[in-house]
Amino acid sequence: MKQEIEKANLSQTSEINKVAPQKVYVLIPFLFLTVTLLGGMRISDKGFLFLKPDLVFFVLAAFLIALFFKTNLISLEDWLFGHSSLLKTVSNLAILATLFSASIQIFNSLTPENGLAFWIISFCFFWVLWNNLFLELSPKKMIRSLVALFSFAFVTKYIFLANLTAPTTETWWQALLENPAKQTLTWLLDLPRFSPATGYLQFFNLAIYLIALYLFPTSTRETLTANS
């Protein structure tokens, strides 16, 4: 079983490593930085809002990166050690830093901003990632698991919870008379009132993150030999 997984990893490694250097060193960090930029962005009636990431997102992102290393989706040894060139090591470190920042912001994007929903979703993320740390997952399964996890979180936040949120009205009484159930839920769950455009924006943000992950090579060792 283990041999099969290693074989699958190796075949994927050689396949991914045929990528051009500009894709690894320019396109991928650009995509991750775009996710970092958009992850905390919300659109409200008053304009843009840039929400700084909570400490819990740093912990979740660290777990996620650890999972990437464990499942060999990213080979730590190939990415950081054994390069004769300092420039390559520094560039690789910079790309890994962008992956970490994008992961923080993707949790920032998919987790409700405050209240009970924030803690429940954060706990669910923590639970799934913690469980995955002890499983023998292949890179493909790991990616599938992540797509499922993030899609579910997206639907929960931007479709389910967004539909429970009461629209902004001028007075508290007017809101309570027009939408009593939604108003109560908004108050109870402390749901923020953002424009629907936020959901569309974060949908594309999640898509960019998953595309960048798909393009992310396991190792950069062969890129060097292929071009030298």
Partner: protein, 176 residues
């Protein structure tokens, strides 16, 4: 090999500039494009001032100082301070700061009573002038208080409540 090195350098430049922009954006938190432009300009000005201080080339902006002086002489002290602040954003010029302190004194001075809030601000600025240049002496004939120590004394006296405050002849005293 060269192509790879070029890509790596380009990638590092991208990460530095784009990453820096993102960090700045989250710190500045602009709510619209207009605010974004305004905050960007402010940040560039602050960075430019910081660079001038580091390279020891910082000088107060003469044009804004002259505009401030004009407003100061026309008794428009709020506008004068606005120009003085623009002339010396890092608060490192004893001359400009002296005029700011003086503007607080003149604006806050009253025949019956002084504005304590403005006098306190003036006192703080006068103390700053002393820190910047304790031997500062103005040659402006319009100003009767020539040094920051004299100005500080005047502001401190104005903030104190003494028996002389109830002297009716006080009404005939003149602003310095």
């Amino acid at each position: 090999m060269e192509k790879e090195k070029f890509s790596q350098l380009l990638g590092l430049a991208l990460v530095s500039f784009y990453g820096g922009f993102i960090v700045w954006l989250y710190l500045a938190n602009p709510s619209n494009l207009e605010e974004l432009t305004r905050k960007a300009r402010l940040t560039v000005e602050q960075a430019s001032t910081g660079a001038k201080i580091l390279t020891n080339t910082y000088e107060a902006d003469e044009e804004n100082f002259q505009k401030g002086l004009q407003a100061f002489r026309n008794e428009n002290f709020v506008l004068a301070r606005e120009f003085f602040d623009r002339a010396d954003p890092a608060k490192r010029s004893a001359k400009v700061q002296f005029y700011i302190a003086y503007s607080f004194y003149r604006q806050g001075w009253g025949k019956i009573s002084n504005d304590d809030r403005l006098f306190k601000k003036g006192l703080e600025t006068a103390e700053l002038v002393i820190k910047l240049d304790s031997s500062f002496h103005t040659d402006d004939p319009d100003l009767k208080l020539k040094t920051p120590f004299e100005l500080k004394q005047e502001l401190e006296d104005g903030l104190k409540i003494t028996a002389s405050d109830f002297n009716p002849l006080k009404f005939f005293r003149e602003r310095k």
